[in-house]
């Protein structure tokens, strides 16, 4: 495992000059993932349409210090699978000598929703590629519309906190479990609150022979409405409240990577965010209760999958 000092020396493949918002999780996540590659490794990056793509590739500039392809919104999985197929073919024919890695980045809209079929196909076909979902829980690039990754109760522009319907009515899709059901060699859920966790998982994902999927919680200051300097702290709370557990699935074997020592109520995660402010108005207590129940239930199911004793942390 590299030290922070060593990581500071690596050849950055995602560099400054991009136009992501201050306090956006995407730039941090992408750097952490790509820094898991050695300096002399070659990589081709694919990207779905979304904030990351429009903010980093404004012609004639690019923030990508490596080869990059964006195709459309829903097909980052298929596109990079085609790049990888070309690599396999040309390598087999002796037309390419070097080893090259392949990674696609997509937001939750481009991954959980519109790109799910393309991703599922690429994973099932067994391409040697990594797919990283930067999950900020809504269609942020088009102006904060709900996706199937949006948490229960969140106020978005298509699930507004109204007087009759108080925000999103459905809990989020468990995409990491969906990906694990593809029986691919590696699936992980990680968060930028632990650079070691992201680094380790990205390294494993790049090293396995076959497809790998990583889901990263990537806060959006516009959509979540938090104090931007607090981004990493907020992600830490997401992990501690078990809203975003850290786990990995290696060759079908589930493993929990972090077990909070005490029971931290979900309010700690909801309170600093403007998208949940309405939940703290009188009369909406039942929604917070439902969110907590959902979190606890998923936690117990996860522990069971990981072969751990299914119990909540001590209060």
């Amino acid at each position: 495992m590299a030290t922070l000092k060593e990581l500071a020396q690596v050849n950055e493949r995602f560099v400054g000059g991009h136009r992501l918002c201050a306090g956006c999780g995407h730039g941090i996540s992408v750097r952490m993932v790509l820094n898991a590659l050695d300096n002399d490794e070659h990589v081709v990056v694919g990207c779905a349409t979304g904030c990351l793509e429009v903010a980093s590739t404004i012609y004639p500039y690019t923030a990508w210090n490596c080869s990059f392809i964006h195709n459309a919104f829903e097909n980052a999985g298929a596109t990079i699978s085609g790049v990888e197929a070309a690599y396999k073919s040309l390598k087999k024919q002796g037309k390419i000598k070097e080893d090259i890695k392949f990674v696609a980045f997509g937001g939750d809209g481009g991954t959980y929703d519109i790109g799910l079929q393309s991703l599922s196909g690429a994973m099932e076909r067994g391409h040697n590629m990594v797919y990283v979902c930067l999950d900020n829980g809504a269609y942020m690039n088009t102006g904060i519309q709900r996706s199937s990754a949006t948490p229960l109760g969140a106020d978005t522009t298509t699930s507004p906190a109204g007087t009759v319907v108080p925000g999103k009515q459905q809990p989020r899709k468990d995409l990491a479990a969906v990906m694990a059901a593809h029986n691919i060699p590696y699936v992980a859920q990680t968060a930028i609150s632990s650079w070691q966790d992201v680094h380790k998982k990205a390294k494993k994902a790049f090293e396995v022979d076959g497809p790998a999927f990583i889901n990263i919680l990537s806060p959006c200051p516009r959509g979540w409405r938090y104090n931007t300097p607090d981004i990493v702290e907020l992600v830490k709370i997401a992990v501690e409240t078990r809203f975003w557990p850290l786990f990995e699935v290696e060759n079908g074997k589930w493993k929990l990577n972090k077990k909070p020592k005490k029971y931290v109520p979900i309010e700690e995660f909801l309170k600093p965010q403007g998208r949940f402010r309405h939940l703290f108005a009188p009369g909406n207590e039942h929604i917070i209760k439902r969110i907590q129940e959902e979190v606890d239930q998923r936690w117990l199911a996860l522990l069971e999958r990981c072969g751990e004793k299914p119990e909540l942390p001590p209060r």
Partner: protein, 393 residues
């Protein structure tokens, strides 16, 4: 060496793909082009080609993966029909705009609804303004020949655009035809090795593809596509002439059949052109001055060649195997009539929509069209600009 063989259109196209030996094929089954995918996968699994075959989960991913492969620096192909082409519509535009020289056969079939598996050109007409070059084929021979030439056209440095090779679903795709195929080495030499100018897999350069383009560059990038299409007209003819040297068959932008002294002309693409030529011969034997114009390239639209071929006629009927629902006739009618407008020659141009959903174009129907044109010339009057051929009204 040439081999005379009996093949269906799909078999001829699959053979062309085997001889092209692309680095990557990503495809999905759909009637009536499924056989191409099946035959090609057997070439892959029996070691007849070096291709990495990607069995995608949809046509959208078929084109997306083909694009990824092409951008990576591979010679990459896909193939489809009908709903499949409609489903990949979005990325067909992206492929053309990213200037990826992808060749893809399209066995033409009607679009839903009602669902129908038979031939018309609604699928191809859906992508006519996508920036893709569209070649049309009268029979299996032309489908085969177009496939081989399409590689050279697509990859020409002055073009760099996708090329779709259209041939009629079932009529051409499934009917057995006698044709000549070239030997493998001749094809290999004709298409040459693929050396892309830029490639994602070239580790000595950093390439950024599919960037975000604002109002300060987008317009110029679109205009470059127009210029490439303009160049394609020249390249299609050059490649056609070169192909004649190895095959004995010459190809241009259009085929002008007995038009030199013709008073009346039918403009029609794909298999129906064969029927039109047959009727034309019969009427010629009776002394009527009739001819047929068959566009081989529909995009780019060869308007100069069409005007030149039709400038002496008195009346023209454009036969469209697709509707536009504009109430102003089919897609080719609009283009042909626009092309002829500047001649100021008072050529009467009428439109017949025919054969939707695979309805047969009968020889009597074609004869009726020539009779109608005769009446138009005689009376100097057109009652109806748009008619439906073989429709129960």
């Amino acid at each position: 060496m040439k081999n005379r063989v009996a093949l269906t259109g799909n078999e001829a196209v699959a053979q062309a793909m085997r001889q092209i030996n692309p680095d990557v094929v990503a495809a999905y089954p759909i009637t009536p082009s499924t056989e191409v995918v099946q035959m090609f996968s057997s070439f892959v699994n029996n070691g007849k080609v070096d291709t990495e075959f990607v069995t995608v989960e949809s046509e959208h991913s078929a084109m997306s993966a083909t694009m990824g492969a092409s951008a990576a620096g591979a010679r990459a192909m896909t193939c489809t029909s009908s709903q499949g082409l409609a489903y990949m519509f979005e990325v067909v535009y992206v492929a053309a705009s990213m200037r990826l020289p992808i060749v893809f056969p399209v066995a033409n079939r009607a679009l839903s609804a009602p669902i129908n598996i038979h031939c018309d050109h609604s699928d191809a007409m859906g992508i006519k303004q996508s920036g893709v070059i569209q070649l049309f084929s009268e029979n299996a021979q032309e489908a085969y020949d177009n496939m081989i030439q399409a590689i050279r056209i697509a990859e020409h440095p002055d073009v760099l655009l996708p090329v779709s090779v259209n041939y009629d679903g079932f009529i051409t795709s499934h009917a057995l035809d006698v044709l000549e195929i070239l030997d493998d080495d001749t094809v290999k030499e004709f298409i040459g090795e693929y050396h892309p100018q830029e490639a994602l897999l070239n580790v000595n350069e950093q390439l950024s593809m599919g960037n975000f383009d604002m109002y300060d560059y987008y317009f110029e990038h679109k205009y470059q596509q127009v210029a490439a299409m303009e160049n394609a007209k020249r390249v299609i003819e050059e490649v056609g002439k070169e192909y004649a040297k190895i095959s004995g068959r010459t190809y241009g932008l259009i085929e002008a059949y007995k038009l030199d002294d013709a008073d009346m002309a039918i403009v029609v693409m794909n298999s129906a052109a064969g029927s039109a030529k047959g009727v034309c011969d019969e009427l010629r034997a009776k002394g009527l001055k009739v001819g047929v114009l068959k566009p081989r390239a529909f995009r780019p639209f060869p308007h100069e060649a069409i005007v030149d071929a039709l400038k002496g006629v008195k009346a023209v009927a454009v036969l469209d195997r697709a509707e536009t629902f504009s109430t102003l006739g089919g897609p080719m009618f609009a283009d042909v009539r626009t092309a002829l407008y500047d001649l100021k020659a008072d050529i009467k141009v009428v439109n017949y929509v025919y054969g939707l959903g695979g309805r047969d174009l009968r020889l009597e129907d074609v004869e009726q069209v020539y009779n109608d044109l005769g009446d138009i010339i005689k009376t100097g009057k057109v009652d109806k600009f748009v008619r439906y051929l073989g429709l129960r009204e």
